[in-house]
Symmetry: C2
Subunit: 648 residues, 2 copies
Amino acid sequence: MRGRSFSPKDSFVEAYLGPEPCALGPSAAGSSTPYPRVSWQDLSIVNRQSEQTMDYRAPQTDMRFVLHEVLKVADHYQQFGMDDPPGEDLINAVVEEGAKFCEQVLLPLNRSGDEEGCHIEDGVVTTPKGFKDAFDQFVENGWSGLTSPTEFGGQGLPESVGVAIKEMIDSCNLSWGCYPLLSHGASEALKHHGEPWQREAFLRPIVEGRWTGTMCLTEPHSGSDLGLLRTKAEPQADGSYAITGTKIFITGGEQDLSENIVHLVLARISDAPSGTKGISMFVVPKFKVDQQGAMGERNEVSCGSIEHKMGLKASATCVMNFDGAQGWLIGPPNKGLNCMFTMMNTARLAVGIQGLGLIEITYQNALAYAKDRLQMRSLSGPKYPDKPADPIIVHPDIRRMLLTQRAFAEGGRVLSFEAALLVDTSERHADAEVRAEADAQLGILTPIIKALLTEMAVECTYHGVQTLGGHGYIAEWGQEQLARDARITTIYEGTTQIQALDLLGRKVMGGKGQALGTLIEKVTANCSAAEAHEPLKAAAARMQETAADWAALTQEVAKRAMADADEVGAAAVDYLFLSGYILVGDALLRSALVAQQAHIDAKLRDGKQALLNFYVDRILPRVGQHAASIRAGGKSLTALPESMFDAA
Amino acid sequence: MRGRSFSPKDSFVEAYLGPEPCALGPSAAGSSTPYPRVSWQDLSIVNRQSEQTMDYRAPQTDMRFVLHEVLKVADHYQQFGMDDPPGEDLINAVVEEGAKFCEQVLLPLNRSGDEEGCHIEDGVVTTPKGFKDAFDQFVENGWSGLTSPTEFGGQGLPESVGVAIKEMIDSCNLSWGCYPLLSHGASEALKHHGEPWQREAFLRPIVEGRWTGTMCLTEPHSGSDLGLLRTKAEPQADGSYAITGTKIFITGGEQDLSENIVHLVLARISDAPSGTKGISMFVVPKFKVDQQGAMGERNEVSCGSIEHKMGLKASATCVMNFDGAQGWLIGPPNKGLNCMFTMMNTARLAVGIQGLGLIEITYQNALAYAKDRLQMRSLSGPKYPDKPADPIIVHPDIRRMLLTQRAFAEGGRVLSFEAALLVDTSERHADAEVRAEADAQLGILTPIIKALLTEMAVECTYHGVQTLGGHGYIAEWGQEQLARDARITTIYEGTTQIQALDLLGRKVMGGKGQALGTLIEKVTANCSAAEAHEPLKAAAARMQETAADWAALTQEVAKRAMADADEVGAAAVDYLFLSGYILVGDALLRSALVAQQAHIDAKLRDGKQALLNFYVDRILPRVGQHAASIRAGGKSLTALPESMFDAA
């Protein structure tokens, strides 16, 4: 290459790079343009550090667009045989009220909750100041039973309405949101597998918000591998079981928000088979409850300690000791994992939505900073010559980071709201075949949404911190808390690795490619529809190619896996990312297509188009990297003897 | 795709996926293999939480390999005209002593330092327990002046020896390492630009470790853009200046380790031009120092507060108030940025080495966990049938995460040690032309090493946390601290974005492609040399293709930038990553090639080969993604009106 120099015009180099030497590379030189001296007050950024809350407004316009224009949820509800299916106006009103609660009550408690954290003394856990009041308001306003069955005091609204509320809660206060989230999981288990008295005794008070729930799975030696768990359950004369063992990482295992706490515990009945086939599920309340639902004395379950964590500090993560605690079997003996399985999709989607909520707020906060922070001039000349420097949003790489966040917020919203609609369809649709098909699609989307949106939350909160620079790293701005909070989401409720094995092993290969085939057909059809619209044509063609390679690649992996099961493990994570990036692209393509309709606001339409263009140019190329890694096969990972990992 | 199902043999599906439904996807099913019940004591992992320090042994074998086999530093030193150039044995002895200090003194203080943090009361900053003792030992053992000039009491060793010590310090205690790091920067400035009395008065006590130094650049409204800074310097009758202003993010601005603190401060002399052309550099000691070097009364400089940060908590990040403090001009007036520029390469390399240190320790810690933690069975059948489950290192994706960390540790070590050798060559070589060429190569490598190794530290500490799962997120294991500490490294000393503009704008385009051309030629030559060795042939061919495209892509970007300066900003970060991934690949290729020599240990040779194969299969495909993003151009970023970033 020597000798083939670029020969830029010297005047360009000077204008662009400034006089050498310069402290901070070319960019600093932009500011050598003369500008009037300004007082501190002119730089609004300086005074912002005293503010306590972050920039966040619930994205109601986009939520309405997704719910009513892209997904047309109200039309679907008409087919659910509901007495009074919710229409657009009701849905919008619910979202609006939820937005107020989240913005006004939860958001102001997010940083203070992180700073204060949870405390334990003599087994009593105290949540941060304001958390109990916020929970009381949540319950009083009926949010705890929003999507719960009406026969137990809930409001019976579809999950695809509830998901919007969840997203806003997770944006405003991820830690606080964990308490109702886990209650929801316990409700689901009781609803599907509880005996009538158990549902009356345990489910109703949870729906009413008087009690909360937990999920007690993990033990010190048994995390992703539940087959290793050892907590014991001994049958008692009264039909109950005595539960003995230690559970760790129990979210909300102890707290001061609710009158009683209902633990759903996985344990082994005496002489049960080893491994996953000998696990049963029990309900173990903090205060004993008899079969008439009367609350009695304290049960033999206690919180031994709480974890000191990287983030999510206002959510109490408890070590729970069960010392012969009274528990009641839920579902058939030794079928605990089957019972757990029924709530897996909703629980995993809920964590995916945590990712979405974090992506939305990191975008909004980073955007506000980027528009406000004056630093350097645009490389193509001053954009705000009357200011001492341009706002950093003029710099292309700041824009790249912002648009990455926005793409996963808006694309992720379509994907996860659609999955919630599939939950509704799979549970409520009149036609069994439609229910089954929805369930199959949900099965394939769930691990992708869970893993991709949480991984993107990690990436996007990274971009948020980077956009704020040094200010992103200090606590005052709240941005670093988002990054710390986000970090757990790729781990709990099944790591990204577990989701990837679920997707490729169980859902794609185990399902013999049927559900995947349907999904790829849909993506292909969306591309064809979009190609008819000139502004979308190029993007749709790129997406079309990518989808075709997705199908081919899946065949290749399946073939290799027949010969060597380890090839599944070697390909799974790349396969999940590849699938996820395609589906987010599809979501943005569909959004841009729907936005072409005449009644859509021009700014929204232009925004969807711009986001699609950005995504195809800048994010979709990631698919090629994952495809190449998959095609390289697993040999470079698996052929290595274990001893080779040690230093020479 | 429907109808083209994969038709795996049912027996395979059953063996692989286990009986449906299963709680945690296919992988959990592996554990349904019967195994004997074990007691808690059999699971060594359970007892590890009480340990306080992390798994770390200084990678001395690999350091020796890099220094002596790959770089042959001692041969280079022969050309520096040193009185007594250090040979292999001396270098190894220095590294060994450094390893002991880091492992035994610094590592045990890392977690306690993070937990305790720094405190401030009435302007007095206290570092965590043990930090002062460790600093005293560091000074007593002569480490503070290891690479400083002998005429000021230093040991005069080359930077390419010092870099090994730096890496180990940064692995063991990044926060503690910041104190001597900043002293080093101040020494460099004084060495190159100080008047003789200033060097005697300020440099000697820093070299001796009695005093420390800081760099005071950033102000609240002036971060990446130093042109905006406002701190004032008024000339005094005695030849000194009265410095007034507020500096933020000052590492070690106040602390309890040293007798005096020497601040190097950027400020504007009254009536200096605005922007970057009116900035001067001053030395401002905490206690005044006269021209005879005598320390006097307290100067008018004080610490107003310290920051609460995401990590690096044991490093005091100070707001420093200068209220007419006595300062002395360093270098010519209005040339402060030029002076700063001379120490930029070493300071930025030092931060890149922080990234390297973090990558090495996260690898070691995650590896120890992965070998110890029993969870699930290998998909291809139990590997440790006598244990209740296999160690998680059998899972391909755990291996992918581990090898990613190792690849950037070992490849990054070659790159950054080589850069340190270029520093030495550019300063000490007898031949001016060789010095100039080394300087040009250093100029192009510095932003790549700084940005890539810190970005990879963020990624690799992510992998470390992910490998440990829930245990990665809690403080006991130390892994989450590494992730928090790493997060600042892509920001301070110039963000990744600033490095990228420096690389593409100044070093590649500003240098008309000359230095880059030389670098690409070297990579190409390395590929050709490696292709002659059968085991390296395929990898070398892949690298060769990639290097060719690097050259082509550079031409394309340069052409586009001629038409629109914003194209540089749009391409720069992708260009930096692309260049970095190629150079790490080249470093691993060279290592594998050197390891082919007969006298090299077989395990080391096989390890280098395996790491190269992994890298080419799994990491090098990232280059394609970045190339595609660059080729897409900047339009999707820059054409967007600013108002489009707001919600519709």
